[in-house]
Assembly symmetry: C2
Homo-oligomer: 191 residues x 2
Amino acid sequence: MGARTDTRQKMLCGAIELLGERGAAGVTVDAVLARSGAPRGSVYHHFPGGRAEIMSESLTLAGDTISALITAAADRGALGVLAGIAEFWTATLLASDFEAGCPVVSVAVGGSPEDHHLQPEVANILHRWHDTLTIAITAEGVAPARAARLATMAIAGVEGAVILCRVDRSTAPLDEVVEELRVLLATAVDN
Amino acid sequence: MGARTDTRQKMLCGAIELLGERGAAGVTVDAVLARSGAPRGSVYHHFPGGRAEIMSESLTLAGDTISALITAAADRGALGVLAGIAEFWTATLLASDFEAGCPVVSVAVGGSPEDHHLQPEVANILHRWHDTLTIAITAEGVAPARAARLATMAIAGVEGAVILCRVDRSTAPLDEVVEELRVLLATAVDN
DNA sequence: GTCTATACGAAGATAGAC
DNA sequence: GTCTATCTTCGTATAGAC
């Protein structure tokens, strides 16, 4: 599997940006081209499956990117993962002037009929995040069942907070949620 | 200010359902008609502003409905509100076979250009929920600043959990999040 | 690999008959 | 109040030139 062309990568990155900013419905072929600056003729050359293939590959790439982030931060323990995710979203929200949201959530929420085939991959991605987080929390000495619940709480809280941040055009909701998650995690570790 | 016609109400309810199930982009005029069984000719009769007016009114109605739910449950204290919200979403998710999500979140996430004018109303709705929750938590003896943070955590957690429930086709994520929110609230009240 | 041109369908909106 | 065209725009996809 040789290196993929630059154009292809640019298109996928553009698609991920659009996914976060405008939701699944906002990822039109034209928008991807405009965003990435890729030439028209490249679409069906690089993605024979058309829009469906662009959606599927960009979703996978987005999921892998954040999975890598979580896994890398796991070295610093459960609190490290939390800090890592918070840093990532704070930077992403600020850099986009609060236009960007989570691309995976966008697909999960915008359940249009033509993007329905992406649901299994969304579930896959979220389960991977959950598993990694659960392991990190368990390593702190929390019982597995409780750790799994805390992992669910953390993912739901952070994803919900990112939505609130966009609406408020402020990183405050994320800061507050992370702070409360830290408190919750601390009490769980002490037991 | 007389009573509004049945057709108008049916269309708005259909629009709210579509908003939760397919996101903002899924609320097309045709889909609203099909869902509500309303006649074609009714669209611009009841909603001179066309789709934009349907979106705006259905969003407001959805926000008010959930606001009323929260306010009503506030009599039972902060835990009562949490229980009330949990019951509502559990019932909604099950009744829709996990197709329905939060209509307000759908608008917040699916930021298409043509629905951009709805952002202020989304912020309004979420702030109303937040204020009501903050008051309920403060009434339990929690300091105002902490109560506001807990309210943010609760809204973010529940909205995030609803997304996870849809993806997993299970109410388990919501149950887990509500359980952890209860724990968090309990420790906050004790201090 | 990239371009233009075009076919096809879906969606919003309007006009005019009933 | 409701219906049937019809117009326009947009989005996906394909064909064929360069």
